[in-house]
């Protein structure tokens, strides 16, 4: 027995090492999400409530301060002291100690916040990726740790009232990944979507002066198939009210890739 142990142990070690390698990759890695037809909680003006989501990949974790600092080192036009005014509001990366580094007071592994849509978009492009569309976010975020669509679980859903706050389901550092292996979708931070500016409320607004009306929460809050889907409702209302140069202390992002 003793003689057979070392090879087994070696195998085990090898298996653990490769598992670790995969886990290490998860820091900035992408997880594949099999697409499908999806009943969105958001009601657009179409009569159909089913959204077809194509398969895509999504970052397992949001982009961290460390990741973003590496990005602004490579593309210094996105430093807070160099970003053109057209892309930025005054708060951009305002929580960092310096223009090129978060500093000691900021957890390098924490999701980067106070980033606007333009900078998030540029970061993802540099990764040959893009920001996820809202429907993709909603699809991925319908999963809990064991189910791809846990939205029938009223208790789980109720806890999403805390999304975007430190009490959120995924805010704890040891919160499990969801069924796709993705972490933090219901975390203490909101995340940009590619189509933040397409989240028009219901009604046919083609050609009308909808610019302001759809920035009010009230206008968008009416258009949900399922107003009890708190995580989605809150996120939708928040994102649809944002301008692309806006930043928030609890708004970060992660990137997605289409399946070729």
């Amino acid at each position: 027995m003793k003689r057979t142990l070392p090879p087994t142990a070696t195998l085990l070690l090898l298996a653990m090492a490769s598992a670790l390698a995969v886990a290490g990759d998860a820091g900035s890695g992408y997880r594949w999400i099999e697409g499908g037809d999806f009943r969105s909680s958001v009601r657009y003006e179409e009569s159909t409530r089913i959204v077809r989501v194509a398969s895509f990949s999504l970052m397992a974790r949001p982009v961290s301060n460390r990741d973003f600092a590496a990005f602004v080192a490579r593309q210094p036009q996105w430093r807070r002291d160099r970003i053109p005014a057209v892309f930025a509001s005054p708060g951009y990366l305002g929580h960092w100690a310096g223009p090129d580094a978060p500093g000691d007071g900021v957890d390098p592994e924490a999701p980067v916040v106070h980033v606007n849509w333009y900078a998030a978009d540029a970061y993802c492009r540099a990764q040959q990726a893009r920001l996820p569309r809202f429907a993709e976010w909603e699809y991925a975020a319908a999963a809990d740790a064991t189910r791809r669509d846990a939205r029938q679980d009223a208790a789980w859903r109720m806890r999403q009232v805390n999304d975007g706050t430190p009490h959120a389901i995924d805010a704890a550092p040891d919160a499990p990944a969801n069924a796709y292996g993705i972490q933090g979708l219901h975390g203490a931070h909101w995340e940009w979507s590619e189509d933040y500016a397409s989240l028009l409320g219901d009604g046919d607004r083609r050609g009308q002066q909808d610019g302001d009306a759809l920035r009010y929460c009230g206008a968008t809050a009416m258009s949900f198939n399922d107003p009890g889907d708190y995580g989605v409702v809150k996120r939708f209302v928040l994102l649809s009210a944002l301008r692309p140069d806006a930043t928030l202390g609890n708004l970060g992002f992660r990137c997605a890739r289409s399946t070729p």
Partner: protein, 188 residues
Amino acid sequence: MKIASLFLSALLVLATPLQAQSLPGDSVYHLQARTQDSHGAPVAWASLRGQPRLVSMFYTNCHLMCPLILENAKSVQKQLSPAERRQLGMVMVSLDPSRDTPDAMQEVARRHRVPEGWQFLTPAANDVRAIASVLDVRYRFRDDGSINHTSVLVLLDAEGRVRARSEVTAAAADPAFLIQIKALLAGP
């Protein structure tokens, strides 16, 4: 003279990085976006710098609002003096790159008898949202292929700063917007 101007434009091309540094911070031309015109030639978004422009976003497969946008922009141009008309570039940018091929853009220009000199630009697919963002245009594709979008004419000065906007609700130009355009064109 011709050679001199060719030489000058070559110099200008070489000087582009320098120019970019002096671009005002609030210029929409900070955006690195790619488009092509209705002849299929590549046009960098930032290359629109250098002349005041009236810019709008639309799509060719749109039968209600987009004709109105074109008519409104034509109406604006019609009320300018010939000299003002030469100063102001007219730019229509597609929201729908997969369908708005150069041919489709030429066809819509013909169908609506758009005067010579307008630029019909189709952005790269992943550049549409960013261009729309700097112009504050919101849009969303519907299941039937139509697009909900903000219908607006945006006046940019030569440096790409947004100087005025006109929401399009009718075929006739907004008189207040015309005053803003004329003021910009008359300026230093």
